[in-house]
Amino acid sequence: MDFDWGVIWKNREVLWGGMMLSLQLFAIALGGGIFFGTLLAMARLSSWKILSYPAAGFVNLIRSIPFIMAIFWFYFLTPMLVGKITGQQGEAVGPFTSAIVAFIMVESAYYSEIIRAGIQSIPRGQPWAAYALGMNYWQAMGFVVLPQAFRNMVPIMLTQAIILFQDTSLVYVVGLKDFLGAASKAGQLSGRIVELYLFVALVFFIICFGASFIVKRLQAKYAVVR
């Protein structure tokens, strides 16, 4: 078969736009996932059953269904719920917003498991000491437990971030033009699907391999000395 690699240069703007959308989704999902994941982990470890049971239920439910199924769920639920709240019907929420909600929800479930393990790795004496010094729950968490927990978790959280970046390609299933979606569209229009998919694979490989290499280096350099 004869290749025409020029097709990639011809579609550079479409592909660049797709990559920007992927990166946007990645950044928002990462920030939202870690923020809500922390809250979920704290809820799960709470001694109040009214907090810990729903949090555990949500996390286990999300983790036992496929990512694509979760995307479909939130793609369906988000416009409906927003419509109910604002009283507007129909196009109140775009596909990108729904995708963002889906990614934040799923990632917060994944991250909450990592963060929970991190919190549990901190000796019980630490929060007790904080309480003994007169701190309240939020102070003990914010100034004593979480800073130590996060330092232990950094390598796993970065690894999960690389997986999250790869997972952004799943928005293809709701027709968003992320990097893969843009390449797919360009490939169909030009009839050069082989070149474009190989290019997408190469770009993802370079980014993810590079990132995991850096993570490994950081891990060796900043390993916590005990």
């Binding site: 078969m1 439910l61 036992s64 269904i65 496929p66 990512f67 694509i68 199924m69 479909f72 769920w73 369906f76 690389i162 790869q166 997972d167 390609s169 799943l170 293809y172 299933v173 893969l180 797919s184 699907i193 082989v194 998919y197 190989l198 997408v200 694979a201 993802f204 490989f205 993810c208 391999f209 995991s212």
Partner: protein, 255 residues
């Protein structure tokens, strides 16, 4: 909400919408199980290669793991399905796309054998890279004295792996392997992008035909949860069953 929708007659297949979920579950399980066979055998081989001191096998296995781990699963799916037949000689590529023999005979398959095969190959080879890492971690977690003792007893290196290291390593990695299996089973839903009508795809079809999205998704979600719980339960049982007393902490304590 209207759960009676599942009892209505669907427009094709001469069955109810509830009946549409059946083939979906079947394809999800078939893709996952076939892929698991590839993932487990190939992954074990690669994991062993990564622990040997032989340079070339180690380099091959490491390269494999890095390539398959750093490309998104969905992109790999498209590479197998769309790109691979084009890179092969034309006649072989066409044979893959059109004349692949039906080695799994099932009713209501509205897609060709190539879609199924591509999905199985993709998932199997992707998951093999993750299984390889687990097997490697399992072997490396054993004390080095085990290898040395085996060699001192006069075993050859392959015998040490077969009789000493692997039987222990496989027991140790049952919990992470369980989650790898659950991952393969969840990841099988990516096969819907190349036309395999597995459970997620079927539930979406039901929602498109009936506009009962909530009910359709709930049904699929429940099935996923039931299968997940069943697998976890079976693996706990297996872990207890094969535990070596006094060496590995009992199930619950895990790895």
């Amino acid at each position: 909400m209207d759960w009676k929708v599942f009892l209505e007659l669907a427009p094709s297949g001469g069955m109810t919408y509830l009946g549409w979920l059946g083939p979906g579950v079947m394809w999800t399980l078939l893709v996952s199980l076939f892929a698991w066979v590839i993932a487990f055998s190939l992954g074990s081989g690669l994991g062993v290669m990564r622990t040997t001191l032989l340079r070339i096998p180690r380099a091959i296995a490491t390269t494999y793991v890095e390539i398959f781990r750093n490309i998104p699963l969905l992109v790999q799916m498209f590479l197998w399905y769309f790109v691979m037949p084009e890179l092969l000689p034309e006649r072989l590529g066409n044979w893959f796309k059109q004349d692949l023999p039906n080695f799994v005979e099932l009713p209501f398959a509205q897609f060709s054998m190539w879609e199924f095969t591509a999905a199985v190959l993709c998932l199997g080879m992707y998951t093999a890279s993750r299984v390889a890492e687990q097997v490697r971690a399992g072997i490396l977690s054993l004390p080095r004295g085990q290898t040395n003792a085996g060699l001192a007893m006069g075993f050859t290196l392959p015998q040490v792996y077969k009789f000493v290291l692997l039987p222990m390593a496989y027991r140790i990695i049952i919990p992470p392997m369980t989650s790898e299996f659950l991952t393969i089973f969840k990841n099988s839903s990516t096969a819907l992008t190349i036309g395999v009508l597995e459970l997620t795809a079927q539930s979406r079809q039901i929602s498109e035909y009936t506009f009962r999205t909530f009910e359709a998704f709930t049904a699929a979600t429940l099935i996923y949860v039931v299968i997940t719980l069943t697998v976890i339960f079976l693996m706990r049982w297996l872990e207890n069953r094969v535990a070596v007393p006094g060496f590995i902490s009992q199930a619950g304590g895990g790895h």
